[in-house]
Subunit: 185 residues, 2 copies
């Protein structure tokens, strides 16, 4: 992915210049007026694998990308949050479901889109949920019902695969993986 | 921490307005000229616990914050990287040491400064290292030599505590913690 450019200085509004600052080894957008270097960094997406008895809660996306496809509840982490707070908040927003997290279960690197996913195993506190603004439908799925061909993102396929593997073995272990390709469309 | 403001639109240079966009529930900096919403998100710091035999590699910081204090090699993740690549790169830059990562070992949330630390257990491929530009000194420390009172960051104290606990028990397990206070100065 080409580096997105910060064309104007967010602090003073002057035009920036793309150059390697002294003592650095990467090209940055630097303000020639106020000398600020504007760094850009990957973003964190936090989400849950919400479980009720033997079923998993999935949301059908009401927005692009991948509108109409199924996902675990997840979204961009906000300033001032922990990854756990972000995962719980996103589950409340997208599925109107209240979860308690059990553990940080998986971290996925997606370097081609500058994202890192952080997924929590969690339990629904009660089997109540409904479609938040970003969801068309929210449903509990048993393992044999998971819509594998209609999942929105590779991160969600991997999360579910890991989860069912570990549930079968009876031992949940922390997982990490790099994902460099999208799900085939 | 107060939300840092994006005062001018990075895309078109016009002044932004702080407001809650329609369909959102948080205050953002929005460009009235081009309508772009400028989101801000926490940043990831990736680092290593580099091990050679029974010793750990630490760097004495040559730069602020916490200049003169000891740290595990770590730094801000760049666009296009995985967390693992960032951790290995930072170790090469700060300690001129080549490591092979063993596993993603710890994740720390620091919501008061909008950071998430991702630490890898790793082994030095050879006992060769020296001070990178950001380090005054680089040294191997046995457990009883660790300068606990001169560590730069709480994340590093926790990483080392977890590491030595697990080494003693003979079982390394993934660790996650929230840190909401700095080391006392």
């Amino acid at each position: 992915m080409p580096r997105p450019q910060i064309k104007y200085c967010p602090e003073c509004g002057n035009k920036t210049e793309s150059k390697t600052p002294e003592g650095d080894n990467q090209i940055r957008d630097v303000c020639d007026a106020c000398d600020l270097v504007h760094y850009q960094n990957p973003r964190i997406i936090a989400g849950c694998i919400p479980v009720w008895e033997d079923k998993i809660l999935l949301c059908k996306r009401a927005i692009d990308p991948r509108k109409g496809f199924w996902t675990l509840p997840a979204g961009f982490m906000e300033l001032g949050e922990t990854t756990e707070q972000a995962a719980v908040r996103e589950t409340l927003e997208e599925a109107e479901a209240v979860v308690q997290t059990e553990e940080l279960y998986a971290v996925f690197n997606l370097p081609h889109i500058d994202q890192v996913y952080v997924m929590y195993r969690s339990v629904l506190l009660k089997p109540e949920f409904s479609s938040g603004e970003e969801s068309l439908e929210v449903r509990l799925f048993a393992e044999h019902e998971i819509p594998w061909d209609e999942l929105a993102f590779e991160t969600m396929r991997k999360s579910l695969e890991f989860y069912f593997q570990d549930r079968q073995s009876g031992c949940f272990k922390f997982r990490s993986a790099d994902i460099t390709r999208p799900l085939s469309r």
